[in-house]
Subunit: 411 residues, 2 copies
């Protein structure tokens, strides 16, 4: 039996307690469990962005490029995130958005061996991941193709000799199921296949170990658990063994070996920075940097402890408080298979999610009947989990979710 006192005891020993206070308190009394959608805002993000606008844009104008660290931010932020995703400090870069980085890195990996023109992915990968692969294969033409597997056990058979890249989401955005990254990388390596992992629903929630598991490439968004804000830059990772093997697919001046030489022909920068394209997003990068400055102070093992602790408490409370009202946890019960969020089904999930909003709990709904509670270890407490489940219980017990005003479900 888990009670509020138990949650408070866990919070008292939370090593990330102080980190939580570095995020802004919203105007309303609300528990935000949408870290899998848009993460919390660092307390100083708004003032930092305002300063860039007034001192950088209004006053400095073009001198801003010399006065501030605008051009360094993309890789400085990568350095700050590296330990959270298990990467070398120089191997991560922030730029562009997730879709574009997926395209750039999938294309980069794909072109490394054109005699293996097939990309393997999951039929139920996140839509933009799949679309990017379809579009790339169509544009590349020739024998380029996308092969989809329906279930994990089909992976082995799918990795035949014509496959160049295995392209997976580390965590499934619906089910929260997590691949065994080490085992998959090992299998792929044995078959001569490169791996590209979309870590959007993992990074900042659960520790990711890119280099330790031998991943070749990775991409992730900045706006979910990493708390970079709506429209934040995304990140990309290239293992050092691949960094200087080819030109980037989108060859831009910010990825040139000597950007301000204005040379007439392209020559890539060494390393991961060649994947920079055009002018970086100065405002978005400042907001993202506010979050990265927090991540620099987050120890990997503390993140791991807290996400696991929050997840286990949440799953136990969902059963204990709401099981009798038809709530069934759909995400993996074995923690080693779970990703960033906990998902549960309920016959009225869409309306329940809307009613929860009115009761001060922001979560997210996925068709047909799943509610997702995103577990953001830097921003929520065990008590938050207690409050959220209590409110869920209230919504279910009173059946208020059946009221007509909750019938219209937003996505």
């Amino acid at each position: 039996m888990i009670d509020l006192a138990h949650c408070r005891t866990l919070d008292a020993r939370d090593p990330l307690r102080a980190v939580r206070d570095r995020f802004a308190r919203p105007a309303e009394d609300t528990v935000y469990l949408d870290g899998n959608s848009i993460g919390a805002m660092p307390a100083d993000a708004a003032s930092r962005v305002e300063r860039v606008m007034l001192e950088g844009w209004r006053d400095a104008r073009r001198r801003g490029w010399n006065r501030f660290d605008w051009l360094e931010k993309p890789w400085r932020m990568g350095e700050g995130l590296a330990h959270i995703v298990g990467a070398g400090k120089g191997d991560v870069l922030f730029c562009d958005n997730t879709t574009i980085n997926l395209y750039k890195i999938l294309g980069y990996a794909w072109q490394l061996d054109r005699t293996r023109p097939v990309i393997v992915t999951e039929a139920h990968n996140f839509p933009t991941d799949t679309y990017v692969a379809e579009g790339l294969a169509r544009f590349a033409g020739g024998a380029a193709a996308v092969r989809r597997i329906d279930r994990p056990h089909e992976l082995d058979a799918a990795l035949s000799g014509d496959v160049g890249v295995l392209y997976l989401s580390y965590v499934d955005y619906r089910t929260s199921r997590r691949w065994n990254m080490a085992a998959v990388n090992e299998l792929a390596r044995a078959r001569g296949v490169l791996t590209l992992w979309d870590c959007s629903h993992a990074a900042g929630a659960i520790p990711v170990d890119l280099e330790g598991t031998g991943a070749d490439f990775a991409v992730g968004c900045g706006y979910k658990y990493l708390c970079g804000g709506p429209g934040a830059p995304a990140w990309l990772y290239v293992h050092p063994r691949h960094q200087d093997r080819a030109w980037p697919v989108i060859a831009g001046w910010m990825g040139h070996a000597d950007v301000f030489a204005f040379a007439p022909t392209y020559e890539p920068l060494r390393g991961v920075r060649r994947h920079q394209t055009g002018t970086p997003g100065i405002l978005a990068n400042e907001a993202m940097s506010a979050a990265i400055d927090i991540w620099r102070d987050v120890r990997r093992e503390d993140l791991a402890w807290k996400h696991r602790s929050l997840s286990e408490v949440l799953i136990a409370l969902l059963e204990q408080e709401c099981g009798k009202f038809g709530v069934r946890v759909t995400s993996p019960l074995d923690y080693d298979e779970q990703g960033g969020h906990v998902g549960f089904s309920h016959p009225g999930a869409g309306s329940v999610c809307e009613a929860l909003l009115e009761h001060g709990v922001v979560s997210s709904f996925r068709k047909p009947d799943v509610i997702r509670f995103g577990i953001s270890p830097v921003a929520i407490s065990h008590e938050d989990v207690w409050v959220a489940v209590s409110r869920l219980r209230q919504v279910l017990e009173t059946e208020i979710w059946r009221e007509p005003r909750f019938a219209k479900v937003s996505v």
Copy 2:
């Protein structure tokens, strides 16, 4: 003989006088002639971005997608810019950065006829434009190639039967020379070649007439004369006759026919909006929208009158006040051949540009000996031009630019 009184007379009849007051006054007494680098900041840009951060990010979180117009902004901004670049209202889209949009649209145009695999461009096109073409040809493989012309008169001979796309900057970033867009489009059309224009050094300074001249495609940045701020989204234009001919090169969920259906396979949106990739840059789009709300109120003919008037006054004053100190205008003297900025040479240009900064004039230097004064009709007055040239004269007359502290030249 042009004097300050004459400049003030012109300002008194300036139809864009009121528009100028909608930009923020910088902290210092400075004349900004770097509209070709980072344009002026709209007066309400900082407060609008702050509101998005507090109400959208901090408080609304994922609900922001439903509460605000975040998903509509990319094409709403396109509608607001359309008349300035001579495009149909539904044919312009803001997204990503210039380099990425060049890649997307060059790739889109290139794939429309793979039997014409050659891209023609200028040897002295802006670096990122050239790099994008080189990178695209390398990635596409096969017969894809880039052919460069050195001088305009070589264009005719370069457009042979193997050419699919003619890829030019409307205005040269160094010389400010402007192509005759109508004549070039006509020549290209006669040869069965598609045209893609980079309008970065033109849009927002001089009127552009994409549809009227029969341009097929265009791209431009948002941060120069369009005043969207550092890292602003770029825009792209696709003539209606090409909009539904193919998939976009980067097929992302924001360009899907039904983004929130989470369909397993890609189907493009109709029209130009299929070129949207991933999550839009919410902060950057808000800042850009502050500028677009100004552009909605700018009449095309007023922009044309004022840019011409400012340019002619500037060129006359440079000769009148500074000719005797070695200043020579290098940009075209025939206004119909001039782009957004006026360029002039001086043997000590780099140091002069630095000394001008100390004297409250922000301009930009390009190797080896050219200073560029960017003419931003919405943000500067004829009196500003008078003040800037007076300060230039002072810098040259006193030879203060020879002092050692101006020897280090920033780019």
